[in-house]
């Protein structure tokens, strides 16, 4: 009799998948407007050069060409804005050079847009672009952060001396210095966090439209946050008021952060549509994605831990150089500061921490948040350092973690680097993971592998992250130029079905299912009677979009608040219909009842009354059942957990295979376990990709050597084993759902588990550390250099 349970905790199938797997998704490039033109963007093939001359005459005369624009044509509009301002140690604001939509005077990275050709067909635009006569005079260039801060390094921007964007710090330097002075041991580790190309399956695309009769602009774009794009592009770049600019982010095929940012192409097609009075579409080719989508990571760090004789962490000192690329992307300055340095307490009670972060410009593609954003960098540094401490001191890797864990009864826990953790149980996730991974049985598996000539290793990572971004006042005080609340509008229709208008955006996460399940749970409506609307500024209220694992913790909480309003109003209507006091009305499973009686009105009946208010307390309440709520979180949320990785290395070739991977995460309240598992699996796949395969390689001058899938190694299904994924949850204490977030945990927790396993496998070769990716060549070089295992010497 009872309908299948569809509320919080049910692994219902994803509502959106029928459309995706049957080819009925509606992506930006699927959208075509009458009289549409096509844009091709001519990009720099040089890392750094002065633009001597651009002659567009031949391109303009080519068949089908309607317009050619260069930086000179766009000089009157604004540069691409940065959404976060960091101040240096000395109080000065970060250096924030203009990021022109089309290059002005100089090109600063391979891929920097120089000109746009607009023609009747994409082919004609591309043909005409070959007729552009562009003279560039090469300038000296740099790609790596270490080269960028060398005294004689060429400058990417004249106004950024030493290529420095900012030189920032956090923590108590004196306390850290004092602790180091008294430490029984100090363990130091130099490490890099490899640069990554996000490579969403759907390349970026943008389609600008302009209606000369109304002056209305529409931008269809591959974005994770259409309202943010409307604000940034409208207010700061094109000078268009919000009511004249609609931004639609329809189905979007993966983002991983790379589609948060406001990109030049969005401004180009919108502005150009207004110029040529016709729609203008641009879709990236994959090679363009490699040199125009913001990259991720790219840190060079030194970490030092001071320890007492028992291996308790006394103080942590970190120095990090991070690559901003040639210009500041939207979120970039925040990533290596407030999403990185503040995470360096991790799951440990380290009482004193001091972190210096120097952000530098280079002649490379801008770097910004990529799945995890700062937290994978922090986790890799800390969890590699902990294993290195074990290596250097001889303490057991698990034991040293136990000794330093924040105990489960210590929450809320204030770290020395600004964050206050609300909940967690690191011993619980550790114990569950050790058991699931059969940590105790590893020696036998290692011996069995050795008998086959294989090197087997096991590694662990006990990580923590901060997401559910973010309390607006807090981030405002840290330099954010935006609020980070979320919004939901719940519209109960006259016959009781529900539309949810959310400010979050789904680009693979499954919001159309998960968010609908919240309505099933709270309003007792069947899943089939709930639709989630997102991604169109003309339909949804002003929300901040999806990134930082925020959609459920922040967007879902806004929904709960809006549904609370629906229920409160519904009780008044039901009280009127049932001739009772609103205080006596209870709401459960979609029914309003008078407490202690069998008098009942369904949500549908109440909704119909609200929209057909013939018998209605019209003097007391308005018609309709349609409520909006904004929710500003009180704190970040703090997922954490334990990942265990087991690898086997073929010593003849240096090839590493991940043979087992166990992830036990604390993500707070789980709405749809199947979707959470999918999110964790995807994140772990990306984390293993970073650890073993992926690497954006520039030569020292700034040519991208891994500029296509021929040279950039994406993880494939056969690179990965079946994962063991479980959750061991404590509830978030400050949002109504108790949910923490699950989108990034896989990518955050996994890379150090993989590298710790690789280092463990190579322990007989005297390996203390190796940087990602642990490619076959790198491992073979280590084995080949050693020739004989150390133990055999």
């Amino acid at each position: 009799m009872d309908a299948a349970f569809e509320g919080i905790g049910a692994s219902v199938r994803r509502k959106e998948d029928l459309r995706f797997i049957s080819g009925r998704g509606n992506y930006t490039d699927d959208i075509n407007r009458p009289h549409q033109m096509h844009a091709f963007i001519k990009r720099s093939d040089r890392p750094h050069a002065r633009i001597v001359r651009i002659d567009t005459a031949a391109a303009k005369a080519a068949p089908g060409v309607v317009a050619v624009f260069t930086g000179a044509d766009l000089a009157a509009i604004g540069g691409l804005p940065c959404g976060w301002q960091i101040h240096s140690k000395d109080g000065t604001p970060m250096v924030e050079p203009k990021h022109p939509v089309l290059a002005e005077g100089k090109v600063r990275h391979v891929g920097d847009p120089i000109a746009v050709v607009i023609a009747e067909t994409r082919q004609q635009a591309k043909d005409a672009a070959e007729l552009l006569d562009i003279e560039l005079a090469d300038l000296p260039s740099i790609a790596g952060v270490t080269d960028a801060v060398a005294p004689s390094a060429p400058l990417v921007h004249d106004e950024a001396a030493g290529n420095q964007c900012y030189d920032w710090h956090i923590g108590d330097k004196d306390a850290v210095d004092a602790a180091f002075a008294q430490a029984a041991h100090v363990v130091k580790l130099d490490l890099t966090n490899n640069r990554l190309v996000p490579n969403a399956m759907e390349p970026r695309a943008a389609l600008g439209d302009f209606d000369p009769s109304t002056g209305d602009y529409t931008l269809f774009t591959t974005s994770q946050n259409p309202h943010v794009i409307r604000l940034l592009m409208g207010a700061f770049v094109l000078g268009l008021p919000e009511h004249k600019l609609r931004v639609v982010a329809p189905d979007v095929g993966g983002g991983f952060g790379s589609k948060i940012y406001h990109y030049a192409e969005e401004a180009i097609v919108t502005w150009a549509a207004g110029q040529v009075k016709r729609p203008v579409k641009w879709t990236a080719e994959r090679n363009e994605s490699f040199v125009s989508d913001a990259h991720g990571r790219d840190h060079v760090s030194t970490a030092e831990m001071a320890l007492d004789p028992q291996g308790k962490f006394l103080a942590l000192r970190v120095h990090t150089l991070c690559n901003m690329g040639a210009y500041l992307s939207t979120f970039a300055p925040a990533v290596p500061t407030y999403l990185y340095a503040t995470l360096l307490a991790g799951t440990y009670t380290t009482p004193a921490i001091y972190v210096e972060v120097k952000a530098v410009f280079t002649n490379t593609v801008p770097v910004d948040a990529y799945r995890g954003a700062g937290r994978p960098e922090a986790t890799f540094l800390l969890e590699r350092l902990v294993d290195t401490i074990a290596h250097d001191t001889g303490l057991d890797r698990v034991e040293i973690r136990r000794r330093n864990f924040i105990p489960r009864d210590a929450f809320p826990y204030q770290t020395p680097v600004a964050l206050q953790y609300d909940s967690g149980d690191y011993v619980a996730t550790l114990e569950t993971a050790l058991k699931a991974a059969d940590w105790a049985g590893f020696p036998a598996r290692r011996a069995a592998a050795a008998a086959k000539g294989r090197l087997r290793g096991i590694g662990i990572s006990t990580y923590l992250e901060a997401c559910g971004i973010a309390p607006s006042a807090v981030v405002g005080s840290l330099g954010a130029r935006a609020g980070l609340y979320e919004v939901a509008n719940i519209r109960v229709h006259p016959t009781g079905s529900v539309s949810v208008f959310t400010g979050t955006h789904s680009h693979g996460q499954g919001h159309e299912t998960t968010l609908a399940q919240l309505v099933c749970d709270q309003l007792g409506v069947a899943l089939k009677d709930v639709d989630v609307v997102h991604g169109d500024t003309a339909r949804i209220p002003f929300g901040m979009g999806t990134y930082g694992s925020r959609s459920l913790a922040v967007g879902g909480s806004a929904m709960v608040k809006a549904m609370d309003k629906i229920i409160a109003k519904g009780k008044k209507i039901a009280a009127h219909l049932l001739e009772a006091s609103a205080d006596d009305i209870e709401f459960k499973d979609g029914k309003f009842t008078v407490a202690g009686t069998d008098k009942v009105k369904t949500l549908g009946e109440v909704a119909l009354t609200a929209y057909v208010p013939h018998n209605y307390p019209i003097d007391e309440i308005e018609p309709g059942l349609d409520e909006t709520a904004f929710y500003d979180p009180k704190n970040f949320t703090y997922p954490g957990g334990c990942h265990v990785c087991e690898v086997e290395i073929d010593p003849e070739t240096g090839v590493t295979r991940v043979v087992n991977f166990t992830a036990v995460d604390d993500v707070g309240r789980v709405v749809n376990p199947m979707i959470v598992e999918g999110q964790v699996q995807g994140g772990v796949a990306q984390g293993i990709g970073q650890a073993l395969l992926e690497n954006a390689v520039y030569d020292k001058d700034g040519q991208l050597l891994s500029g296509s899938f021929m040279d950039y190694t994406m993880p494939r299904a056969d690179d990965l084993p079946n994962f063991t994924v479980a959750t061991e949850n404590t509830m978030c204490t400050h949002n109504p759902l108790g949910s923490k977030g699950c989108g990034e945990v896989g990518a955050i927790g996994s890379p150090p588990a993989v590298i710790n396993a690789v280092v463990d496998a190579l322990r007989d070769y005297g390996v203390r550390h190796l940087d990602m990716p642990a490619s076959p060549q790198k491992i073979w070089s280590i084995i080949n250099a050693g020739r004989l295992p150390v133990a055999a010497e």
């Binding site: 070739t653 395969l693 899938f709 021929m710 040279d711």
Partner: protein
């Protein structure tokens, strides 16, 4: 891609004639050529599609396997006759690219293109096969002339490829982690032409025979015999995935594995 004229002739003479046009290019499976066109790295005047010439099929006689030039990798991989006669060749075909590529890519296309990372050139060279064209027969030893370079004339069309059936043969490939082309591929064969070892993916001039491995394996056909043979790194490719030294090392490892697979 740039505009071009497309032709799909129904006879070999017509195809050869069409290919006589300046800047004409032949299209077999297109698994390299079409991406090259899409990237505007080639600007042919005419693209001559060889699909209607009937150049498909596999024939096995007592001592020879003959494969039509337009036979796909998938067909070779699944051919019971090839599996029986030269299992190493079927295995090589079964591991080229991915399933989509194997259903389009052809043996003739692979050999005509002679990509230095392609698999088939190593089989042809190690087995001492022959390439038959519209006008002549070319032995493997004369056919390969450096990377992307062969003995073929611009308007010459491969019609079939023949392999003498060896006693033992196998291919072992170390894939480039990103592209999954051969970073080092070693084909070993022991047959009517003696012991021959051909290396693909590693050399700056494309596929080559390895005299040291051939001598060692002629004396002692075993994986262990490969261990004593060192390969100089000179003349080997070096890139972000593998140094010349690493490739040189992998040649020995893959040769040993190929010998083990050959039995």
């Amino acid at each position: 891609m740039y505009d071009f004229t497309y032709q799909k002739p129904a006879s070999l003479p017509d195809a050869v004639k069409a290919l006589g046009t300046e800047d004409a290019k032949a299209l077999a499976g297109g698994m390299t050529f079409i991406p090259v066109l899409k990237q505007r790295l080639n600007k042919p005047s005419v693209v001559v599609d060889l699909a209607k010439l009937g150049l498909t099929g596999i024939t096995v006689t007592g001592d020879t396997v003959t494969i039509g030039a337009m036979t796909t990798h998938e067909t070779v991989a699944n051919s019971a006759e090839v599996k029986r006669a030269i299992p190493g060749l079927a295995d090589l075909a079964a591991n080229i690219g991915d399933k989509e590529v194997r259903h389009r890519g052809t043996i003739g296309g692979s050999l005509a293109n002679n990509d230095p990372s392609a698999c088939y050139p190593s089989a042809l060279l190690a087995l001492g096969g022959t390439v038959k064209t519209d006008r002549r027969t070319i032995s493997a030893d004369d056919y390969f002339q450096g990377m992307f370079t062969t003995a073929l004339e611009p308007d010459e069309v491969i019609t079939e490829v023949s392999f003498p059936i060896p006693q033992k043969a196998a291919y072992a490939k170390f894939r480039n982690p990103a592209s999954r082309y051969a970073m080092v591929g070693v084909f070993v064969a022991k047959g009517p032409k003696g012991v021959r070892v051909a290396i693909t993916g590693a050399g700056q001039n494309g596929v080559f025979r390895h005299a040291g491995l051939e001598a060692a394996l002629a004396a002692n056909w075993s994986a262990d015999a490969c261990k004593g043979v060192s390969t100089p790194a000179d003349g080997l490719n070096s890139d972000i995935h593998a140094s010349a030294e690493y490739r040189a090392h992998l040649i020995g490892v893959m040769a040993g594995r190929a010998v083990t697979a050959a039995g």
